[in-house]
């Protein structure tokens, strides 16, 4: 569908702009997502244990 629209001689710049926005926002979302998961994991680890022993590690 997108290929059907004719953006004239400067199409590369237009797609480049939209692509850059998509890329940067995707990177931002991915970073926030993984950071959130990491913090949750650390929090769960800290909350779940009293004293950790080496046997937990295997």
């Amino acid at each position: 569908m997108l290929a059907m629209i004719d953006l004239g001689p400067h199409a590369a710049y237009i797609w480049g702009s939209y692509g850059a926005v998509a890329l940067v926002l995707a990177a931002l979302v991915a970073w926030l997502w993984f950071d959130g998961r990491r913090q949750r994991r650390l929090l769960a680890e800290l909350e779940s244990r009293g004293v950790r022993r080496r046997s937990d590690r295997g």
Binding site: E45, V51, R52, R53, R54, R57
Partner: protein, 210 residues
């Protein structure tokens, strides 16, 4: 194994700190360096570890691979802890284990690591970055490397600084075990470490004041 120090002369900043010192320590012996401030305890230890080049005299370690440098037989614990704040407790010890040790196999190395952490009461903090630790805990963390990498000659400069009474006893135990296993410990300290059988070397008397 025996450490021979013969006619050692060490200068620092143009001043002769250690003048013609001769002594020897056999395996299974602990030597306590005592003396007032500035008597040259730190200087002697750093000279034995090879950081300072003596002006004269020799340091020889019999019973150690003659192909290898004496420094590879040494553990040095100085005033600074050599821990990285952003690495976790375990990462810190694991790095020194691999770097100073002979790179033993995976499981055995892992066991030794956990045993050292447990010994010094840090196993519950294994995943915590070292930045969070108190001064005493940081000190114990740096002492862990004595246990994870096997080296015969321990050079300890004020090892009990910022340790509480219980941890000092623990350190004395660890030193005692190393000596009992045939190792050599040379420790500079103001505090009595509770090492009953240790010999004492009083520095400062023989040094000519300038």
């Amino acid at each position: 194994m025996q450490l021979f120090v013969a006619n050692l002369v060490v200068a620092r900043g143009g001043r002769t700190i250690i003048d013609d010192l001769t002594f020897d320590v056999a395996g299974g012996e602990a030597l306590l360096l005592t003396g007032r401030n500035g008597a040259g305890k730190t200087t002697l230890i750093r000279a034995l570890a090879g950081y300072l080049r003596p002006i004269a005299g020799s340091v020889r370690l019999d019973g150690f691979d003659p192909e290898r440098d004496v420094r590879e037989a040494c553990h040095y614990v100085g005033h600074l802890d050599a821990n990285k704040a952003s690495l976790s407790v375990m990462e810190n010890v694991a790095f020194w284990q691999g770097y100073l040790g002979d790179g033993g196999s995976g499981t055995a190395a892992g066991d030794a690591l956990w045993a050292a952490l447990e010994r010094f009461g840090l196993d519950a903090l294994a995943d915590i970055p070292a930045a969070y630790l108190s001064a005493g805990q940081k000190r114990r963390l740096s002492l862990c490397r004595l246990l994870v990498a096997r080296r015969p000659l321990w050079l300890l400069d004020e090892p009990s600084v910022s340790l509480d009474a219980a941890s000092t006893v623990l350190l004395a135990d660890v030193i005692g075990e190393h000596v009992a296993a045939g190792g050599i410990v040379i420790a500079a300290t103001h505090l009595p470490l509770g090492l009953g059988a240790a010999r004492e070397l009083r520095l400062g008397e023989q040094v000519a004041m300038s």
